[in-house]
């Protein structure tokens, strides 16, 4: 039992640093709430789903932090922690990810 606890403690120690990542579930929620109002088929912002970009492209997009062709900063539209969650969701389900998906 004691060895089992030690093993779990080691695993947790190894993996806890990765907690800094955003939340996939929250990201999906905030993406729907904040982004889908404009980015749907037929709307002015055109449809955008996680499949719209590759993982590298999403990473580059969020690193630039710009929206509307550079006219706005992302974190002026969405709270910074929510931006991180949205990035996690979009990257995790990008077109070249192991689990590509559309939003919904």
């Amino acid at each position: 039992m004691r060895n089992t606890l030690k093993f779990l403690a080691v695993l947790t120690a190894i993996t806890v640093p990765l907690l800094a990542e955003g939340s996939d579930t929250k990201g999906k929620y905030f993406f729907k709430k904040s982004c889908k109002s404009c980015h749907v088929a037929g709307a002015a912002g055109k449809e955008i789903t996680p499949l719209s970009k590759t993982q590298a492209q999403w990473k580059a997009y969020f690193a630039a932090g710009k929206h509307n062709k550079g006219a706005e900063k992302l974190d002026t539209l969405v709270k910074p922690d929510q931006v991180k969650d949205i990035q996690t969701f979009l990257t995790a389900h990008a077109s070249d990810s192991p689990q590509p998906m559309t939003c919904g």
Binding site: L18, K26, Y29, P98
Partner: protein, 566 residues
């Protein structure tokens, strides 16, 4: 091209320069032009190189209309199996007709004591290749190719806990087979935006459905719930997107139709109508009146197609409570299984009778046994990113047509037992009618529950439990585990650790504990109870039943796997 223009310019400018400047100036100018010419040539070469690379990229992109992904799993399994005492049916022997048995043959049986078997090491590799091909803006072809085999020579018979394993194309990717890549999914998916619906034709994504994705730590892989079916089904499905009716985004109503057994030419559909004796009726036999035993006559052919007509409802929910974002799914499913056959078309890998070697039989359907109704419901709830739980339930109801399988209906003879062994009427676990009764509608149920805790985004632990009633059946050949889990007639516990130790790579450790209560888990057919017998008791593995094949009563399976996705 640019270099040619430059040369032309030099040629045109040269005479002018000669007339206007001294030879020295002229030489200086020529040197300058040479430098400029070299720079232009270098730029042209660079442009040519860029053009070559662009052509290569465009060519690759044009030919890269198939998007690939997939997974690879290599797994170690160890298992301990316990067999309770039972009576092994050995076949028939010649018999001198007597008052007790007026026929010239009689069944014989051999008592077998309790046994423990161990398979300490079994390695397996499973490769899955997912592909998506965009045909046009509304049409795609979706596919999945799989190879799943035990380490060692190909074609080694593998028993998966569903006595007896039937190896057919339905089980591609679910039970170990050969090193061939098999088609698990291949369908044309067409989106009709005008009517908010999606049509899918072909080999459907009907494997690893909800809630199995909780254990896998992945997205939902299929529409049908795991308790309903976890196999590959050929057919047509039409899903309607109901969000336009005000229901939550992503809500679907699906209708599907599939063929489980095609009885066309070569499949029994062209067999002429005939009759044969398939069993004996002991209803009025009291042990002293052999004339009361009457033959059971079965109709042979023509076989009808086995069909599946189903409906499913899938409602995803995504909501926020305080700071916690939660997601949930409600799944409802109904399937009408029409003209069920006694056995599919393929090879059965028989569990070896203790002391003997495994055997493989080539089988085909012999009779349509009736229809079945199948209902399933699943609720899955994920709280934040850390805690997920699910509950799932299934219910079955048979509508038999009076027919029995011609493989083993006659095994309901009262067995002749050696002196000192149980006497009187013995129920033999063989084949027979739908859900163990060719004449009376029977029911069965199962439930499946589990939870998973992910304290970090890379580490999760989970526990699951499922229970199946004595007549429970569902078409879920082992879904990657050592033995079939959701088709078990009895109780199954599973605990696992899932650690993503690197990007797209995970280690999985687990233990599954099976306790089978009733014989013939995984089969939709069975013999009827004899007059005065209780079916559940006669099939109970604790009651020293008479079995055609050996069935473990408990299986303890521990495993370790490396899983990568790409």
């Amino acid at each position: 091209m640019n270099s040619r223009i430059t040369l032309a310019l030099v040629a045109m400018l040269a005479p002018v320069a000669l007339s206007a400047q001294s030879n020295q100036d002229l030489q200086k100018e020529i040197d300058n032009l040479k430098v400029q010419l070299k720079a232009v040539e270098e730029k042209a070469a660079a442009a040519q190189d860029l053009d070559t690379r662009l052509v290569k990229a465009e060519t690759k992109l044009a030919g890269d209309n198939i998007q690939w992904g997939g997974d690879l799993r290599t797994r170690f399994d160890g298992a301990q199996e316990h067999f309770k005492p039972y009576n092994q049916f050995m076949g028939f022997m010649q018999n001198t007709p007597s008052a007790a048995n007026p026929y010239p043959f009689a069944p014989i049986a051999q008592p077998v004591g309790a046994q423990d078997w161990t398979n300490s090491v079994q390695w397996s590799t499973r490769l899955g290749l997912n592909m998506g091909i965009t045909i046009n803006e509304n049409a795609k072809v979706m596919g999945r190719l799989v190879m799943y085999k035990i380490h060692g020579g190909a074609d080694v018979p593998t028993f998966n806990g569903t006595p007896n394993t039937i190896s057919t194309s339905f089980t591609a990717g679910q039970t170990p087979a050969t090193d061939a890549l098999l088609v698990e999914r291949a369908s044309l998916v067409y989106h009709f935006p005008a009517v908010a619906s999606i049509l899918s034709i072909g080999r459907q994504n009907t494997s690893d459905g909800p809630p199995l994705e909780v254990r896998e730590g992945s997205e939902r892989n299929a529409t049908p719930q795991a308790l309903a079916v976890n196999a590959t089904i050929d057919g047509i499905g039409w899903k309607f997107q109901l969000e336009k009716l005000g229901l939550p985004e992503g809500t679907l109503l699906g209708l599907c139709y599939g063929v489980g057994y095609e009885s066309g030419f070569g499949g029994g559909g062209a067999v002429k109508q005939n009759q044969t004796i398939v069993g004996m009726n002991f209803t009025n036999f009291n042990g002293t009146n052999p004339s009361a035993i009457t033959p059971v006559v079965g109709n042979i052919g023509p076989l009808k197609d086995t069909t599946v007509l189903g409906a499913m409802f899938d409602m995803p929910l995504l909501f926020q409570i305080g700071e916690s974002v939660q997601s949930a799914n409600l799944y409802l499913g109904y399937n009408r299984l029409g003209n069920m056959t006694d056995i599919p078309f393929g090879n059965t890998i028989n569990f070896p009778i203790p002391g003997q070697t495994p055997s493989t039989q080539y089988v085909t359907a012999t009779a349509n046994l009736g229809d079945m109704d199948q209902m399933t419901v699943t609720w899955k709830h994920k709280i934040g990113d850390t805690f997920t739980y699910f509950v799932s339930g299934g219910y079955l109801k048979s509508h038999p047509n009076g027919q029995v399988s011609q493989y083993g209906a006659y095994w309901t003879f009262p067995a002749v037992m050696p002196p000192g062994y149980p006497t009187g009427l013995q129920q033999l676990s063989g084949f027979g009618g739908l859900m163990g009764d060719p004449n009376k509608s029977e029911t069965a149920s199962a439930y499946y529950a589990g939870m998973r805790y992910d304290p970090t985004s890379t580490f999760g632990v989970g526990v699951e439990f499922n229970h199946g009633s004595p007549r429970w059946w569902t078409y879920t050949p082992a879904t990657g585990e050592y033995t079939d889990k959701l088709g078990a007639r009895g109780d199954v516990w599973e605990a696992y650790i899932h650690w993503r130790f690197a990007h797209n790579a995970a280690l999985r450790l687990g233990y599954i504990d099976y306790k089978y209560s009733t014989a013939m888990s995984g089969w939709q057919i069975g013999p009827s109870a004899q007059p005065g017998q209780n079916w559940e008791s006669a099939m109970n593995l604790s009651n020293t039943p008479m079995l055609q094949y050996a069935y473990p009563s408990t299986v303890k399976n521990y495993y370790a796997a490396i899983e990568v996705k790409f």
